[in-house]
Protein backbone atom coordinates (compact mmCIF):
# COMPACT_ATOMS: atom_id res chain seq x y z
CA UNK A 1 0.00 0.00 0.00
CA UNK A 2 1.29 3.41 -0.92
CA UNK A 3 0.89 5.66 2.09
CA UNK A 4 2.06 8.69 0.09
CA UNK A 5 -0.82 8.45 -2.34
CA UNK A 6 -2.85 11.62 -2.51
CA UNK A 7 -6.19 11.44 -0.85
CA UNK A 8 -8.84 11.45 -3.50
CA UNK A 9 -11.48 14.18 -3.19
CA UNK A 10 -14.92 12.84 -2.30
CA UNK A 11 -16.61 14.14 -5.43
CA UNK A 12 -15.00 14.27 -8.85
CA UNK A 13 -14.51 17.74 -10.33
CA UNK A 14 -17.17 19.06 -12.65
CA UNK A 15 -16.31 19.79 -16.25
CA UNK A 16 -16.46 23.53 -15.61
CA UNK A 17 -13.93 23.18 -12.81
CA UNK A 18 -11.66 21.08 -14.99
CA UNK A 19 -11.75 23.63 -17.81
CA UNK A 20 -11.10 26.42 -15.35
CA UNK A 21 -8.17 24.52 -13.81
CA UNK A 22 -6.66 23.91 -17.24
CA UNK A 23 -7.05 27.59 -18.08
CA UNK A 24 -5.36 28.62 -14.85
CA UNK A 25 -2.54 26.15 -15.40
CA UNK A 26 -1.94 27.63 -18.83
CA UNK A 27 -1.89 31.15 -17.41
CA UNK A 28 0.58 30.15 -14.69
CA UNK A 29 2.76 28.41 -17.22
CA UNK A 30 2.85 31.49 -19.44
CA UNK A 31 3.75 33.79 -16.58
CA UNK A 32 6.42 31.39 -15.37
CA UNK A 33 8.01 31.19 -18.81
CA UNK A 34 7.97 34.97 -19.18
CA UNK A 35 9.71 35.35 -15.81
CA UNK A 36 12.34 32.79 -16.81
CA UNK A 37 12.99 34.59 -20.08
CA UNK A 38 13.39 37.86 -18.22
CA UNK A 39 15.99 36.32 -15.95
CA UNK A 40 17.79 34.90 -18.97
CA UNK A 41 17.82 38.29 -20.71
CA UNK A 42 19.10 39.94 -17.56
CA UNK A 43 21.87 37.37 -17.16
CA UNK A 44 22.78 37.82 -20.81
CA UNK A 45 23.09 41.57 -20.27
CA UNK A 46 25.28 41.01 -17.24
CA UNK A 47 27.37 38.57 -19.23
CA UNK A 48 27.68 41.08 -22.07
CA UNK A 49 29.36 43.51 -19.71
CA UNK A 50 31.37 40.93 -17.81
CA UNK A 51 34.64 41.27 -19.72
CA UNK A 52 34.88 37.50 -20.23
CA UNK A 53 36.83 36.06 -23.09
CA UNK A 54 35.77 32.85 -24.68
CA UNK A 55 37.08 30.89 -27.59
CA UNK A 56 34.70 29.07 -29.86
CA UNK A 57 36.17 27.11 -32.75
CA UNK A 58 39.47 28.94 -32.62
CA UNK A 59 37.92 32.42 -32.71
CA UNK A 60 38.18 34.43 -29.52
CA UNK A 61 35.23 36.56 -28.52
CA UNK A 62 35.48 39.09 -25.79
CA UNK A 63 32.61 40.80 -24.04
CA UNK A 64 32.57 44.42 -22.95
CA UNK A 65 34.96 45.13 -20.15
CA UNK A 66 33.94 47.59 -17.53
CA UNK A 67 36.10 49.05 -14.81
CA UNK A 68 34.88 47.65 -11.49
CA UNK A 69 37.18 49.80 -9.40
CA UNK A 70 35.69 52.91 -10.94
CA UNK A 71 32.21 51.67 -10.06
CA UNK A 72 33.22 50.87 -6.52
CA UNK A 73 34.87 54.24 -6.02
CA UNK A 74 32.03 56.30 -7.43
CA UNK A 75 29.02 54.33 -6.26
CA UNK A 76 28.41 56.52 -3.22
CA UNK A 77 28.85 59.74 -5.17
CA UNK A 78 26.35 58.81 -7.89
CA UNK A 79 23.86 57.27 -5.47
CA UNK A 80 23.99 60.58 -3.62
CA UNK A 81 21.99 62.05 -6.52
CA UNK A 82 18.99 59.82 -5.84
CA UNK A 83 17.63 62.06 -3.11
CA UNK A 84 17.87 65.11 -5.36
CA UNK A 85 16.17 63.30 -8.25
CA UNK A 86 13.31 62.22 -6.00
CA UNK A 87 13.05 65.72 -4.53
CA UNK A 88 12.79 67.38 -7.97
CA UNK A 89 10.22 64.83 -9.10
CA UNK A 90 8.03 65.23 -6.03
CA UNK A 91 8.12 69.03 -6.13
CA UNK A 92 7.46 69.09 -9.88
CA UNK A 93 4.56 66.64 -9.79
CA UNK A 94 2.96 68.68 -7.00
CA UNK A 95 3.23 71.87 -9.03
CA UNK A 96 2.10 70.06 -12.18
CA UNK A 97 -0.97 68.61 -10.44
CA UNK A 98 -2.08 72.02 -9.19
CA UNK A 99 -1.54 73.63 -12.59
CA UNK A 100 -3.25 70.76 -14.41
CA UNK A 101 -6.30 71.00 -12.17
CA UNK A 102 -6.54 74.77 -12.65
CA UNK A 103 -6.06 74.46 -16.40
CA UNK A 104 -8.71 71.73 -16.59
CA UNK A 105 -11.20 73.80 -14.60
CA UNK A 106 -10.36 76.80 -16.79
CA UNK A 107 -11.06 74.69 -19.83
CA UNK A 108 -14.57 74.02 -18.53
CA UNK A 109 -15.16 77.69 -17.75
CA UNK A 110 -17.70 79.70 -19.71
CA UNK A 111 -15.81 82.94 -19.04
CA UNK A 112 -13.84 83.67 -22.26
CA UNK A 113 -10.63 85.09 -20.67
CA UNK A 114 -10.34 82.15 -18.28
CA UNK A 115 -10.97 79.61 -21.05
CA UNK A 116 -8.44 81.46 -23.22
CA UNK A 117 -5.81 81.56 -20.47
CA UNK A 118 -6.12 77.81 -20.02
CA UNK A 119 -5.89 76.92 -23.71
CA UNK A 120 -3.12 79.50 -24.28
CA UNK A 121 -0.99 77.99 -21.52
CA UNK A 122 -1.46 74.45 -22.78
CA UNK A 123 -0.73 75.43 -26.38
CA UNK A 124 2.40 77.45 -25.54
CA UNK A 125 3.91 74.76 -23.33
CA UNK A 126 3.06 71.86 -25.60
CA UNK A 127 4.38 73.77 -28.58
CA UNK A 128 7.92 74.14 -27.22
CA UNK A 129 10.52 71.57 -26.11
CA UNK A 130 10.94 70.76 -22.44
CA UNK A 131 14.70 71.12 -22.85
CA UNK A 132 14.22 74.70 -24.05
CA UNK A 133 11.88 75.47 -21.17
CA UNK A 134 14.41 74.31 -18.62
CA UNK A 135 17.09 76.49 -20.17
CA UNK A 136 14.65 79.38 -20.39
CA UNK A 137 14.10 79.43 -16.66
CA UNK A 138 17.74 78.85 -15.88
CA UNK A 139 19.58 80.87 -18.53
CA UNK A 140 17.14 83.34 -20.07
CA UNK A 141 15.52 84.70 -16.95
CA UNK A 142 18.82 85.92 -15.40
CA UNK A 143 19.12 88.29 -18.36
CA UNK A 144 16.00 89.98 -16.96
CA UNK A 145 17.55 90.07 -13.52
CA UNK A 146 15.67 87.04 -12.25
CA UNK A 147 18.08 84.41 -11.00
CA UNK A 148 16.46 81.19 -9.91
CA UNK A 149 18.40 78.51 -8.07
CA UNK A 150 18.98 75.57 -10.42
CA UNK A 151 16.62 73.31 -8.54
CA UNK A 152 13.73 75.76 -8.77
CA UNK A 153 14.34 76.55 -12.40
CA UNK A 154 14.06 72.82 -13.04
CA UNK A 155 11.01 72.34 -10.87
CA UNK A 156 9.16 75.27 -12.44
CA UNK A 157 9.99 74.12 -15.96
CA UNK A 158 9.04 70.48 -15.30
CA UNK A 159 5.93 71.51 -13.36
CA UNK A 160 4.72 73.87 -16.08
CA UNK A 161 5.44 71.32 -18.79
CA UNK A 162 3.79 68.34 -17.12
CA UNK A 163 0.93 70.53 -15.90
CA UNK A 164 0.03 71.32 -19.50
CA UNK A 165 0.02 67.66 -20.53
CA UNK A 166 -1.74 66.49 -17.39
CA UNK A 167 -4.52 69.06 -17.77
CA UNK A 168 -5.95 66.75 -20.43
CA UNK A 169 -6.09 63.91 -17.89
CA UNK A 170 -7.93 66.08 -15.39
CA UNK A 171 -10.26 67.39 -18.04
CA UNK A 172 -11.16 63.86 -19.02
CA UNK A 173 -11.65 63.07 -15.32
CA UNK A 174 -13.99 66.00 -14.82
CA UNK A 175 -16.04 65.20 -17.89
CA UNK A 176 -16.25 61.53 -16.90
CA UNK A 177 -18.60 62.61 -14.10
CA UNK A 178 -22.08 62.53 -15.59
CA UNK A 179 -24.53 65.41 -15.72
CA UNK A 180 -26.90 63.43 -13.50
CA UNK A 181 -24.43 63.71 -10.62
CA UNK A 182 -24.48 67.51 -10.82
CA UNK A 183 -28.26 67.54 -11.08
CA UNK A 184 -28.66 65.27 -8.07
CA UNK A 185 -26.39 67.55 -6.05
CA UNK A 186 -28.24 70.66 -7.21
CA UNK A 187 -31.61 69.07 -6.43
CA UNK A 188 -30.65 68.64 -2.76
CA UNK A 189 -29.68 72.30 -2.70
CA UNK A 190 -25.91 72.15 -3.08
CA UNK A 191 -24.23 75.26 -4.49
CA UNK A 192 -22.04 74.94 -7.61
CA UNK A 193 -18.96 75.18 -5.36
CA UNK A 194 -20.17 72.42 -3.04
CA UNK A 195 -21.15 70.29 -6.02
CA UNK A 196 -17.65 70.62 -7.51
CA UNK A 197 -15.84 70.02 -4.22
CA UNK A 198 -17.96 67.23 -2.74
CA UNK A 199 -19.37 65.41 -5.77
CA UNK A 200 -17.48 66.06 -9.01
CA UNK A 201 -13.84 66.43 -7.89
CA UNK A 202 -13.65 63.28 -5.75
CA UNK A 203 -14.93 61.21 -8.68
CA UNK A 204 -12.73 63.00 -11.20
CA UNK A 205 -9.63 62.54 -9.05
CA UNK A 206 -10.23 58.84 -8.67
CA UNK A 207 -10.36 58.63 -12.44
CA UNK A 208 -7.18 60.74 -12.74
CA UNK A 209 -4.95 59.02 -10.18
CA UNK A 210 -3.68 56.09 -12.30
CA UNK A 211 -2.64 58.23 -15.30
CA UNK A 212 -1.10 60.78 -12.90
CA UNK A 213 1.04 57.91 -11.59
CA UNK A 214 2.24 57.28 -15.14
CA UNK A 215 3.15 60.95 -15.51
CA UNK A 216 5.07 60.86 -12.24
CA UNK A 217 7.10 57.90 -13.44
CA UNK A 218 7.83 59.64 -16.72
CA UNK A 219 8.81 62.75 -14.82
CA UNK A 220 11.41 61.02 -12.63
CA UNK A 221 13.18 60.18 -15.87
CA UNK A 222 12.73 63.59 -17.48
CA UNK A 223 14.19 65.14 -14.34
CA UNK A 224 17.54 64.05 -15.81
CA UNK A 225 17.25 66.98 -18.23
CA UNK A 226 17.71 69.35 -15.32
CA UNK A 227 21.33 68.15 -15.15
CA UNK A 228 21.93 70.35 -18.19
CA UNK A 229 21.80 73.44 -16.01
CA UNK A 230 24.89 72.16 -14.24
CA UNK A 231 23.70 73.27 -10.83
CA UNK A 232 21.42 70.50 -9.68
CA UNK A 233 23.41 67.57 -8.41
CA UNK A 234 20.99 64.81 -9.22
CA UNK A 235 21.72 61.36 -10.66
CA UNK A 236 22.41 62.35 -14.25
CA UNK A 237 24.62 65.31 -13.33
CA UNK A 238 26.73 63.19 -11.02
CA UNK A 239 27.05 60.38 -13.54
CA UNK A 240 28.22 62.67 -16.33
CA UNK A 241 30.54 64.58 -13.99
CA UNK A 242 32.60 61.59 -12.86
CA UNK A 243 32.22 59.87 -16.20
CA UNK A 244 33.72 62.73 -18.15
CA UNK A 245 36.40 63.56 -15.63
CA UNK A 246 37.86 60.06 -15.66
CA UNK A 247 36.75 59.07 -19.18
CA UNK A 248 34.59 56.34 -17.78
CA UNK A 249 31.28 57.47 -19.26
CA UNK A 250 30.30 53.89 -20.03
CA UNK A 251 30.44 52.78 -16.41
CA UNK A 252 28.94 56.00 -15.05
CA UNK A 253 25.97 55.97 -17.41
CA UNK A 254 25.32 52.28 -16.80
CA UNK A 255 25.21 53.00 -13.08
CA UNK A 256 22.79 55.90 -13.55
CA UNK A 257 20.66 53.77 -15.88
CA UNK A 258 20.40 51.03 -13.26
CA UNK A 259 19.33 53.55 -10.63
CA UNK A 260 16.65 55.01 -12.89
CA UNK A 261 15.43 51.59 -13.91
CA UNK A 262 15.14 50.29 -10.36
CA UNK A 263 13.36 53.48 -9.33
CA UNK A 264 10.90 53.10 -12.20
CA UNK A 265 10.27 49.45 -11.34
CA UNK A 266 9.53 50.36 -7.73
CA UNK A 267 7.23 53.21 -8.69
CA UNK A 268 5.39 51.02 -11.20
CA UNK A 269 4.84 48.40 -8.52
CA UNK A 270 3.49 51.02 -6.12
CA UNK A 271 1.27 52.44 -8.82
CA UNK A 272 -0.28 49.13 -9.79
CA UNK A 273 -1.05 48.56 -6.14
CA UNK A 274 -2.80 51.92 -5.84
CA UNK A 275 -4.67 51.20 -9.05
CA UNK A 276 -5.85 47.84 -7.75
CA UNK A 277 -7.12 49.40 -4.58
CA UNK A 278 -8.97 52.11 -6.48
CA UNK A 279 -10.60 49.72 -8.89
CA UNK A 280 -11.86 47.55 -6.05
CA UNK A 281 -15.31 48.05 -4.56
CA UNK A 282 -16.84 51.45 -4.55
CA UNK A 283 -17.03 52.46 -8.15
Amino acid sequence: MNIFAKKQPDTPKSQAELIYDAFQRKERQFRGNVALSWIFLLLFLVFLFSGQELTIGGITFSTIKIDRTFIGENMVFIAGGLAETIKISLLSITLATILALLAALGRLSTVPPIYALSTFYVSLIRGTPLYLQIFFFFLALPQLGIVLPGLWAGVIALGLNYGAYMSEIFRAGLSSVGKGQREAAMAIGMTPGQTMLRIVLPQALRFAIPPTGNEFIAMTKDSALVAATGFVHELMWRATKVGRAQFHNLEALIMAAIFYWVMTLLLTAIQSRVENRLSKGDR
Binding site: E183, A185, A187, I188, G189, M190, Q203, R283
Partner: protein, 253 residues
Protein backbone atom coordinates in the same frame (compact mmCIF):
# COMPACT_ATOMS: atom_id res chain seq x y z
CA UNK B 1 -57.36 74.93 0.48
CA UNK B 2 -54.21 76.92 -0.26
CA UNK B 3 -52.21 75.07 -2.89
CA UNK B 4 -48.70 74.01 -1.89
CA UNK B 5 -47.51 74.11 -5.51
CA UNK B 6 -48.72 76.85 -7.78
CA UNK B 7 -47.52 77.13 -11.35
CA UNK B 8 -48.83 79.99 -13.42
CA UNK B 9 -48.33 80.77 -17.10
CA UNK B 10 -45.21 78.64 -17.38
CA UNK B 11 -43.45 78.72 -20.74
CA UNK B 12 -40.31 76.86 -21.70
CA UNK B 13 -38.36 77.05 -24.92
CA UNK B 14 -35.42 74.89 -25.95
CA UNK B 15 -33.96 77.13 -28.60
CA UNK B 16 -36.87 77.63 -30.99
CA UNK B 17 -38.75 74.62 -29.71
CA UNK B 18 -41.74 75.54 -27.56
CA UNK B 19 -41.88 72.62 -25.11
CA UNK B 20 -44.20 74.02 -22.41
CA UNK B 21 -47.07 76.26 -23.52
CA UNK B 22 -48.53 78.54 -20.90
CA UNK B 23 -49.01 75.89 -18.24
CA UNK B 24 -50.90 76.67 -15.06
CA UNK B 25 -51.36 74.12 -12.29
CA UNK B 26 -52.24 73.99 -8.60
CA UNK B 27 -51.41 71.08 -6.33
CA UNK B 28 -52.99 70.85 -2.88
CA UNK B 29 -51.07 69.64 0.18
CA UNK B 30 -51.00 65.80 0.48
CA UNK B 31 -52.19 65.45 -3.07
CA UNK B 32 -50.62 62.86 -5.38
CA UNK B 33 -50.53 63.96 -9.00
CA UNK B 34 -49.39 61.63 -11.75
CA UNK B 35 -48.33 63.08 -15.07
CA UNK B 36 -48.55 60.84 -18.12
CA UNK B 37 -47.94 61.45 -21.78
CA UNK B 38 -45.86 60.31 -24.70
CA UNK B 39 -42.15 61.03 -24.71
CA UNK B 40 -41.51 64.55 -25.91
CA UNK B 41 -44.82 65.79 -24.52
CA UNK B 42 -43.01 68.01 -22.00
CA UNK B 43 -43.89 66.11 -18.81
CA UNK B 44 -40.32 65.74 -17.54
CA UNK B 45 -39.52 69.34 -18.43
CA UNK B 46 -42.54 70.50 -16.44
CA UNK B 47 -41.31 68.58 -13.41
CA UNK B 48 -37.73 69.85 -13.81
CA UNK B 49 -38.96 73.45 -14.06
CA UNK B 50 -40.50 73.17 -10.59
CA UNK B 51 -37.08 72.88 -8.90
CA UNK B 52 -35.31 74.89 -11.61
CA UNK B 53 -33.14 72.10 -12.98
CA UNK B 54 -34.57 73.67 -16.10
CA UNK B 55 -34.90 77.43 -15.93
CA UNK B 56 -38.43 78.38 -17.06
CA UNK B 57 -38.46 80.87 -19.94
CA UNK B 58 -41.40 82.69 -18.40
CA UNK B 59 -43.99 82.23 -15.69
CA UNK B 60 -44.09 81.92 -11.93
CA UNK B 61 -43.40 78.87 -9.76
CA UNK B 62 -44.48 78.92 -6.15
CA UNK B 63 -43.78 76.11 -3.70
CA UNK B 64 -44.88 76.41 -0.07
CA UNK B 65 -44.71 80.20 -0.09
CA UNK B 66 -41.47 80.54 -2.05
CA UNK B 67 -42.31 82.37 -5.23
CA UNK B 68 -39.84 82.44 -8.12
CA UNK B 69 -40.19 84.13 -11.47
CA UNK B 70 -38.76 82.28 -14.44
CA UNK B 71 -36.16 83.76 -16.76
CA UNK B 72 -34.58 86.01 -14.12
CA UNK B 73 -30.91 86.25 -13.17
CA UNK B 74 -28.84 87.51 -10.28
CA UNK B 75 -28.09 86.86 -6.66
CA UNK B 76 -31.63 87.22 -5.34
CA UNK B 77 -32.97 84.81 -7.95
CA UNK B 78 -30.29 82.25 -7.10
CA UNK B 79 -31.24 82.48 -3.42
CA UNK B 80 -34.91 81.90 -4.25
CA UNK B 81 -34.05 78.92 -6.45
CA UNK B 82 -31.99 77.52 -3.57
CA UNK B 83 -34.97 77.98 -1.22
CA UNK B 84 -37.34 76.25 -3.62
CA UNK B 85 -34.90 73.31 -3.95
CA UNK B 86 -34.97 72.91 -0.17
CA UNK B 87 -38.77 72.66 -0.36
CA UNK B 88 -38.63 69.94 -3.03
CA UNK B 89 -37.05 66.50 -3.17
CA UNK B 90 -36.31 64.90 -6.50
CA UNK B 91 -35.97 61.30 -7.64
CA UNK B 92 -34.41 60.68 -11.04
CA UNK B 93 -34.91 57.97 -13.62
CA UNK B 94 -31.19 57.08 -13.44
CA UNK B 95 -31.03 57.20 -9.59
CA UNK B 96 -27.90 59.39 -9.64
CA UNK B 97 -26.56 58.13 -6.33
CA UNK B 98 -23.08 59.39 -5.51
CA UNK B 99 -20.86 56.37 -6.30
CA UNK B 100 -17.99 57.47 -4.05
CA UNK B 101 -20.12 57.54 -0.91
CA UNK B 102 -21.71 54.78 1.14
CA UNK B 103 -25.50 54.51 1.20
CA UNK B 104 -25.75 56.36 4.52
CA UNK B 105 -23.32 59.07 3.39
CA UNK B 106 -25.39 59.54 0.23
CA UNK B 107 -28.44 60.11 2.37
CA UNK B 108 -26.87 62.52 4.87
CA UNK B 109 -24.81 64.50 2.35
CA UNK B 110 -27.60 67.05 1.90
CA UNK B 111 -28.43 67.67 5.55
CA UNK B 112 -24.73 67.95 6.53
CA UNK B 113 -23.37 69.97 3.60
CA UNK B 114 -26.41 72.06 2.71
CA UNK B 115 -28.18 72.51 6.03
CA UNK B 116 -25.07 72.32 8.22
CA UNK B 117 -26.70 69.66 10.37
CA UNK B 118 -24.64 67.94 13.05
CA UNK B 119 -23.37 64.55 11.73
CA UNK B 120 -24.75 62.49 14.59
CA UNK B 121 -28.17 64.01 14.20
CA UNK B 122 -28.04 63.66 10.41
CA UNK B 123 -27.12 60.00 10.79
CA UNK B 124 -30.13 59.36 13.01
CA UNK B 125 -32.39 61.09 10.51
CA UNK B 126 -30.77 59.26 7.61
CA UNK B 127 -31.12 55.86 9.26
CA UNK B 128 -34.76 56.58 10.00
CA UNK B 129 -35.42 57.37 6.34
CA UNK B 130 -33.43 54.37 5.11
CA UNK B 131 -35.61 52.29 7.37
CA UNK B 132 -38.70 53.89 5.83
CA UNK B 133 -37.69 52.60 2.39
CA UNK B 134 -36.45 49.27 3.79
CA UNK B 135 -32.78 49.92 2.99
CA UNK B 136 -31.28 50.34 6.47
CA UNK B 137 -29.60 46.92 6.19
CA UNK B 138 -27.42 48.22 3.34
CA UNK B 139 -26.38 51.50 4.93
CA UNK B 140 -22.63 50.81 4.79
CA UNK B 141 -22.62 49.41 1.24
CA UNK B 142 -21.58 51.39 -1.79
CA UNK B 143 -24.17 52.04 -4.53
CA UNK B 144 -22.48 49.72 -7.06
CA UNK B 145 -23.33 46.78 -4.78
CA UNK B 146 -27.07 47.47 -4.98
CA UNK B 147 -29.72 46.39 -7.47
CA UNK B 148 -31.54 49.05 -9.47
CA UNK B 149 -34.59 48.86 -7.26
CA UNK B 150 -32.46 49.19 -4.14
CA UNK B 151 -30.63 52.17 -5.63
CA UNK B 152 -33.89 53.92 -6.35
CA UNK B 153 -35.14 53.28 -2.83
CA UNK B 154 -31.95 54.82 -1.45
CA UNK B 155 -32.45 57.78 -3.80
CA UNK B 156 -35.95 58.22 -2.36
CA UNK B 157 -34.51 58.11 1.17
CA UNK B 158 -31.89 60.70 0.16
CA UNK B 159 -34.61 63.06 -1.02
CA UNK B 160 -36.77 62.42 2.06
CA UNK B 161 -33.89 63.10 4.46
CA UNK B 162 -33.88 66.72 3.29
CA UNK B 163 -37.43 66.84 4.71
CA UNK B 164 -39.01 68.42 1.63
CA UNK B 165 -42.63 69.57 1.42
CA UNK B 166 -43.08 68.19 -2.09
CA UNK B 167 -41.54 65.16 -3.79
CA UNK B 168 -40.89 65.14 -7.53
CA UNK B 169 -40.48 61.77 -9.26
CA UNK B 170 -39.13 61.80 -12.81
CA UNK B 171 -39.93 58.39 -14.33
CA UNK B 172 -38.62 56.60 -11.22
CA UNK B 173 -39.16 53.08 -12.57
CA UNK B 174 -38.34 53.50 -16.26
CA UNK B 175 -34.71 52.36 -15.88
CA UNK B 176 -35.60 49.29 -13.83
CA UNK B 177 -35.91 45.65 -14.79
CA UNK B 178 -39.60 44.69 -14.68
CA UNK B 179 -39.21 42.51 -11.59
CA UNK B 180 -37.72 45.42 -9.61
CA UNK B 181 -40.45 47.96 -10.35
CA UNK B 182 -42.83 46.69 -7.66
CA UNK B 183 -40.56 47.38 -4.68
CA UNK B 184 -40.05 51.00 -5.76
CA UNK B 185 -43.76 51.59 -6.41
CA UNK B 186 -44.57 50.12 -3.00
CA UNK B 187 -42.21 52.56 -1.31
CA UNK B 188 -43.73 55.45 -3.26
CA UNK B 189 -47.20 54.33 -2.27
CA UNK B 190 -46.14 54.25 1.37
CA UNK B 191 -44.68 57.75 1.16
CA UNK B 192 -47.92 58.94 -0.42
CA UNK B 193 -49.98 57.33 2.34
CA UNK B 194 -47.84 59.08 4.94
CA UNK B 195 -49.18 62.35 3.56
CA UNK B 196 -46.43 63.58 1.23
CA UNK B 197 -47.40 65.83 -1.65
CA UNK B 198 -46.14 64.12 -4.79
CA UNK B 199 -45.81 64.88 -8.49
CA UNK B 200 -44.97 61.73 -10.41
CA UNK B 201 -44.06 61.54 -14.07
CA UNK B 202 -44.65 57.91 -14.92
CA UNK B 203 -45.69 55.27 -17.41
CA UNK B 204 -47.10 53.05 -14.65
CA UNK B 205 -50.84 53.23 -15.26
CA UNK B 206 -51.55 50.80 -12.43
CA UNK B 207 -49.81 53.09 -9.98
CA UNK B 208 -51.60 56.14 -11.35
CA UNK B 209 -54.96 54.44 -11.06
CA UNK B 210 -54.35 53.15 -7.56
CA UNK B 211 -52.42 55.94 -5.83
CA UNK B 212 -53.01 59.20 -7.68
CA UNK B 213 -55.64 61.73 -6.68
CA UNK B 214 -55.35 63.36 -10.09
CA UNK B 215 -53.88 62.33 -13.38
CA UNK B 216 -52.62 64.92 -15.84
CA UNK B 217 -52.21 63.98 -19.47
CA UNK B 218 -49.70 66.03 -21.41
CA UNK B 219 -49.35 66.36 -25.17
CA UNK B 220 -47.38 68.86 -27.23
CA UNK B 221 -46.45 71.00 -24.22
CA UNK B 222 -49.99 71.32 -22.90
CA UNK B 223 -52.07 69.64 -20.22
CA UNK B 224 -54.91 68.10 -22.19
CA UNK B 225 -56.64 66.35 -19.30
CA UNK B 226 -56.64 66.87 -15.54
CA UNK B 227 -59.05 64.50 -13.80
CA UNK B 228 -59.33 61.78 -11.20
CA UNK B 229 -57.93 58.46 -12.38
CA UNK B 230 -61.33 56.77 -12.18
CA UNK B 231 -62.89 59.33 -14.52
CA UNK B 232 -59.92 59.47 -16.81
CA UNK B 233 -59.54 55.76 -17.38
CA UNK B 234 -63.32 55.26 -17.67
CA UNK B 235 -63.97 57.97 -20.23
CA UNK B 236 -61.00 59.73 -21.76
CA UNK B 237 -62.14 62.89 -23.55
CA UNK B 238 -59.22 63.47 -25.86
CA UNK B 239 -58.46 60.90 -28.59
CA UNK B 240 -54.75 61.26 -27.68
CA UNK B 241 -55.53 60.11 -24.14
CA UNK B 242 -57.48 57.18 -25.51
CA UNK B 243 -54.52 56.23 -27.67
CA UNK B 244 -52.17 56.47 -24.69
CA UNK B 245 -54.36 54.26 -22.51
CA UNK B 246 -54.86 51.72 -25.29
CA UNK B 247 -51.12 51.52 -25.79
CA UNK B 248 -50.57 50.62 -22.13
CA UNK B 249 -53.48 48.18 -22.11
CA UNK B 250 -51.93 46.30 -25.00
CA UNK B 251 -48.73 46.07 -23.01
CA UNK B 252 -46.69 48.54 -25.03
CA UNK B 253 -44.03 50.63 -23.33
Amino acid sequence: MVPIVNISNLDKYFGRLHVLKNISLDVAPREVVCIIGRSGSGKSTLLRCINFLEEPSAGVIEVDGVKVEGGEKGREHRQLVHDIRLKTGMVFQEFNLFPHMSVLDNVIEGPVTVKGMDRTKARELGEMNLDRVGMLFKKDEYPNRLSGGQKQRVAIARALTMEPRVMLFDEPTSALDPELIGEVLNVMKKVAQEGMTMLVVTHEMGFAREVADRVLVMADGEIIEDRTPTDLFASPKDPRTQALIDRYRSGGG
